[in-house]
Every structure is written in C-alpha cells, then in structure tokens.
Symmetry: C2
Subunit: 156 residues, 2 copies
DNA sequence: CGGAAAAATAAGAATGGTTCTCATTTGCGC
DNA sequence: GCGCAAATGAGAACCATTCTTATTTTTCCG
C-alpha cells in the first residue's frame, strides 16, 4: 500500500519533470494528508522523526521545486517564515483569516471579493497574476476565552 | 521653519508618550513627505546621508515604537523585508497592487471589497483587527514594455 | 544488469533582515 | 543643573533561508 502510494507519487513527480528522489516523495507524503500549514523547520523535523535522512537545504530546495510546479502552495502569514500546504489543483484558491491569539488559520473563498479584485485591476490597467488576502483578528474560540478572562478580572 | 517643524514633531511624539529624541524626529521628518515605501536599510542610509548619527538598531526600535503608536504603517510585500510609510490617520487604510516586474506599488481602496471582508468575518464569527490585500501582477507600463519586447523577438 | 552523465543531496558555512546586549548618552521632571 | 529612567550605538546574536562543495542518486542507455 505504501509502496503503491510511493509509486503514484513517483509518477506525479516525473510528470512534473522532477526526479523522484526519496526525499521529495517523503515530503509529498507528509504534506499529502496534512490539514495544517507547516513551515520548513517543522517539515524538516517531522521527516527526521520519520527516520528519513533529509537536510534542511533539501527541504527548502524541494519545496521550491514543488511550488514551481504548483504541487505545493507557499503561504506568507507575515510572521517571518513561510508555510506550505498541498495544492489541491489549479482552481482551489482561497484566502485566510488568521487568529492573532492562537495562530489558527481559517480558509475562505468569496466570489464577490475575487470579482472586486478583478475590477480594481481593470481600473488600474493592472494585469494580476496572484494575490494574497489575509485578515488578522480573533477567532470565535479566542473571543470566548477573552470574554471569560475579562469577566474574571472584572469580578476582582 | 525647520525649527518650527521640529517643534511640531516633538509635540506629536510627546502626545504619543514617546520621548522626543533627535533620531525619532529625523525619522518622522524623512517619512513625512515621502510617497515611496522605504525599508529600514534605506531609512538608515538616508539618515546617515543627512549627517544624522543613527544606528540601525535605533531605526528598527523607533520604527516599531512609531508603528505601535500608529504614526507609521508597516507593510509586508512578501520580499523578505518590511516597508514603512507615514500613517495619514486612522481611516486611511488602503490595499496594494504590486508590480512583479518593476516593483512599483499602487495603492487602492475599494469599499465593496472592505464590505465583503466584513461579511466573511461575520460568517466565521471572526473579529477582525487588520488585513492585508496584495495583488501581484504586471503594471500598465510593464505590460507595454513586455509587449514591445515580444514584438521585437517575433520579428527575428 | 552495469556504468556514465546529470541532477540531487548532506552538512555546514554564508547571507540578510531583524533583534538583542550592554555600556554610554540623552531627555525631561524636579 | 541633577538624577534617573529611557533611548541610543556598536556590534554580537538570531533565525529563516540560500549557497557551496564534495558525495550520492537517479535515470538512461547499451
């Protein structure tokens, strides 16, 4: 089964003109089922934990190659390091709500917003390639926590 | 006249609970009339050029203090360094079109888009504090240049 | 399957933006 | 003017990322 998955991933890599090295396969496998957005260091450590011998440099180079081939998305949440997620296809674009309290990232997609963006580009004769839209704030859960903390301190 | 400007800037700093040091005044003065978005190194070099003795550390620390006080905006265009611009007030929010070809940054504001953002937040019970919306692509001018280059190579 | 050429890797040095340390200086209330 | 808290200068430290170079793998072809 794992052998079959390996074979499939090898295929994917070859279709994208990338040599199917064990490191790249392990990397894709890691990102494959992941819901979270990993940074390079987390990926490096996780691959190490899984007994794969990988160097940091390879993690970065492989990620870059995979991003170039659009197999992986590179995300910038503005905290000084990049995150990576498996790309689910050409048309899976989404934007992000980022909780400043717990770091949780909520993905969303809003068609009207995308339409507005195109309108703005047209207005400025600007030809768009990609965009990032990050809304920072407090998620529902952290709002509750803060409310409770507030109540507790008020009662003193 | 410069003395008067200095006095005014001192006042501004004091109103924001910041000591009015010569370095901070020089920094504010530099950002004051600037249309461009400077990075910390550019600010450091420019202040040096103006015979102000400032250290890099002070540039970073002062910028941070000014950003905290919302006298300055910190912008992340995703190229590994932060840019700074004078803040024109609480309600001067704008987003950016960033040319991947020449680096030009065009500011825009679109009310409908802002409204959509609030709608998305509400939908997710998310309480927004700030957001960044960056559209990367090619500006009108660079599109012309590329078209010309294309025509030139086609005629070979 | 074996062997060669090209590409990828490991390890760690180097880089670049930013932050920290600590001794010295400065702003400002008294 | 004095004194103390806060700010500064200089450079070390930091951290994510990229580069270097010798070594290892992959792929391809006979």
């Amino acid at each position: 089964m794992s052998a079959k998955e390996n074979q499939a991933l090898k295929q994917v890599l070859r279709e994208h003109e990338l040599k199917a090295t064990s490191q790249r396969i392990a990397l894709l496998k890691l990102l494959n089922g992941a819901i979270e957005h990993f940074d390079a260091e987390e990926i490096y450590l996780e691959l190490r934990k899984r007994q794969k011998n990988v160097s940091r440099a390879t993690v970065y180079r492989s990620l870059e190659a995979l991003v170039d081939q659009k197999l992986v998305n590179k995300l910038d949440f503005g905290d000084g390091r990049m995150r990576y997620e498996q790309s689910k296809g050409e048309d899976e674009h989404h934007d992000h709500l980022i909780c400043e309290c717990c770091g949780k990232v909520i993905e969303f997609f809003n068609l009207e917003m995308e339409a507005q963006q195109l309108a703005v580009c047209e207005e400025h004769n600007f030809f768009p390639s990609t965009h990032t839209m990050h809304i920072f704030g407090t998620c529902a859960n952290c709002q509750h926590i803060q409310t409770h903390a507030q109540l507790a301190s008020d009662s003193n």
